[in-house]
Symmetry: none
Subunit: 414 residues, 2 copies
């Protein structure tokens, strides 16, 4: 079974709104074993909606449509669906009751415009909207399924989970499984060359995709078939066979983030963390504290942007800064060790670098960054050379610091 | 002139990646006076790419394509473009030089796969990618323009701004000018009511759009015509007439950010800044240090996530935390004043709040946040009640802190 998604709304085509609905629906459909063939975003325009519906129904079996169901004049989806399915608008008592309940619970008066929202094309199945005033509509025509839903994300999501997916599954036997393997410390092409024999050996029903991000390469395996356990076993086998070739680069799976993985490792061993940041300016702490419950293991940071604060708040020695400079191995070691002692944590990460655009020298060009991790086992430091874009240098320094910290946490465990 | 956008990538159709490129390109095209007719997302599949190109070129004059240009086997866009334009792959010395420069600057070895990226369809114009290894490609066929670009957002964005848009707008005589006025401390509907007479009085060739963001409302004026100086004068006049109605809310223009405006104000008066952050976990410092040259006025921060660190590093009194709690007026005042003294800066901002999801109480629900600004004139503090979403609470707390700081910097100046 193939599906297509159509999102309707002028606001998408002028770029005022990012279409997040499509990605969400695509993910839900895929998890249900239904492949999404195309996503199409079009304006609130009758002719365009009609041709897009026609074209989508020639390619796919299921067409999910969102948007254009509001009570105002610029929303034309419902009228156009009447035309497409050659149906009259009729009053739906069921839709009316649901709308009425919404208004009573919010103690808002119901307007004539809202009453009109209970009118639906004759012959469609009403999908109740318990979170808003536009009902969803389920149509079947020539063996194809069309579902029209409101564009408000939480209204649409509840409708998909509670009503649309249960109706659709049962009609398809296909299963698609995905597994994403997260690597770091290796470039995409280097990794590709290294795992080529493994890639060539994958069964034909498993597809591999490379998804690079700054500092990270994600490998996504997608297995398609009818027997879930066969697919699961094949993915497990592929994962196992990848380990000897790329195991050293793998740090997580699927939606894992460094912040989460680090949080788990710290929590598991009841260890605490602090950071001492210069060029990253608080980004590492911000990433770590984005995780709910991080206060259990994260104690705090000193952002030492100036040399005086590196000395006064972190105890970096004046001679170190004088003789080696703020961006040096010795400085980040003293920063990490100073923070670890002063903030009283088991682990401490420090970063000092030249984010740019100014401040570079021939020996230390923009992008030069030192990172250290202090732990009960001692302190390690490493030099990185990033690019010449300030924002990306800061991002890559933070990701690299988290990557180094993770390695230390794991090596201690092992 | 009509445009269409095609984004290519399996990761979009399985919902692993939200297609943010389309909204960004749509906005840029609209600002340049080019209407976007349709956005289509398809998989890395030869046949599907060919039919989608054909269909788009029947409807639109300009087709912007992103994705599928990576060096690995799953990326088929370039091969398919060869087929569509009936061209052979040829070596581009220009593309090779740009790729080579990227690798030299990063001191990475160039692989055979990367060398292949310098091969482009014969007859296309190479668009240099200064931020990555996949060159962009500009094609013209039967009076239609096709532009293929990498899917990595910052690579694509630089290419659109520096190369694609200038080439496109050179072909039309129309001038479109935009001016965005930035306000804060006022809701969208309240502001709209207040400036209604001004809005009604705008000349018909100036369009007004409200663009709300958390804590900020942006007003965008778009003037369309053929005479640049007439448009510039009309926008200047509209801006001047807006001041008596909304001047108190206006804090910047166009791409200004709080971080930049604050940087200018501090630099102008040779003042310095530090932050003391609890729930924002370093985000404020991260935002401030995102500005190049911020080390001139920003000295550092203490991220005091635990109470011990609020005491030991910032000098918050034990009794204050005991009697008032970490999220209280007195705590943020002592945090700001302690930071100001210990880090030796003229200004200091502090934040303490309950970001959630846990930690709320009936008196202090999740979202409760105190912010203080300490300055040579004294210390002010204010309470905010945000929502129940951790990530958004952190964002809104940081924006509100910067907004409060800006007001203090301005009032001192005045």
């Amino acid at each position: 079974m193939l599906a297509e998604i159509i999102t309707i709304g002028d606001e998408i085509l002028i770029g005022q709104v990012i279409d997040t609905n499509s990605a969400w629906m695509a993910e839900q459909l895929n998890l249900a074993g239904i492949q999404v063939h195309q996503i199409t975003s079009i304006s609130d325009n009758r002719e365009h909606i009609l041709t897009t519906l026609e074209e989508a129904s020639e390619r796919a079996d299921i067409i999910l449509i969102t948007g254009g169901l509001g009570p105002t004049k610029d929303d034309v989806t419902k009228q156009t669906l009447c035309e497409y399915f050659e149906a009259e608008l009729v009053f739906s008592q069921e839709a009316f009751n649901t709308i009425n309940r919404i208004f009573s619970s919010r103690r808002f008066p119901m307007t004539e415009l809202n009453r009109l929202q209970a009118m639906v094309p004759e012959g469609c199945t009403v999908l109740n909207n318990y979170n808003g005033t536009a009902p969803g509509m389920w149509f079947e025509k020539n063996g194809k399924i069309f579902v029209s839903m409101p564009g408000v994300p939480f209204e649409m999501k509840a409708m998909v989970i509670d009503q649309v997916l249960p109706r659709i599954t049962g009609q398809s036997g296909l299963v698609i499984l995905h597994r994403t393997i997260l690597t770091d410390g290796v470039g995409e092409s280097f990794l590709a060359a290294k795992i080529e024999p493994w890639e060539d050996n994958l069964p034909s029903f498993i597809k591999l995709a490379y998804l690079p991000q700054p500092g990270i390469v994600r490998l996504r395996l997608s297995a398609t078939g009818t027997d879930r356990s066969v697919l699961e076993e094949a993915i497990r086998k592929a994962e196992t066979e990848l380990m000897p070739l790329a195991g050293e680069y793998i740090w997580g799976y699927d939606d894992d983030t460094f912040e989460e993985v680090i949080g788990h490792l710290l929590r598991e061993n009841k260890h605490t963390l602090s950071t001492a940041e210069s060029c990253t300016g608080g980004l590492i702490a911000h990433m770590i504290t984005g995780i709910a419950g991080s206060s259990d293991y994260f104690k705090g940071s000193v952002i030492a942007y100036s040399n005086e604060i590196k000395e006064s708040m972190l105890g970096v020695r004046h001679e170190t800064l004088l003789n080696h400079g703020a961006v040096s191995e010795l400085t980040v070691i003293e920063m990490a060790e100073g923070t670890r002692i002063r903030l009283g944590t088991d682990y401490a990460v420090s970063v000092s670098g030249i984010a740019g655009p100014a401040g570079g020298t021939p020996e230390k060009p923009v992008g030069t960054t030192w990172i250290a991790v202090a732990s009960p086992q001692g302190t390690v430091a490493k030099k990185f050379l990033f690019g010449d874009h300030r924002g990306r240098n800061i991002q890559r320094a933070a990701i690299s610091a988290l990557s180094m910290l993770r390695k230390e946490l794991v090596s201690e465990k092992g």
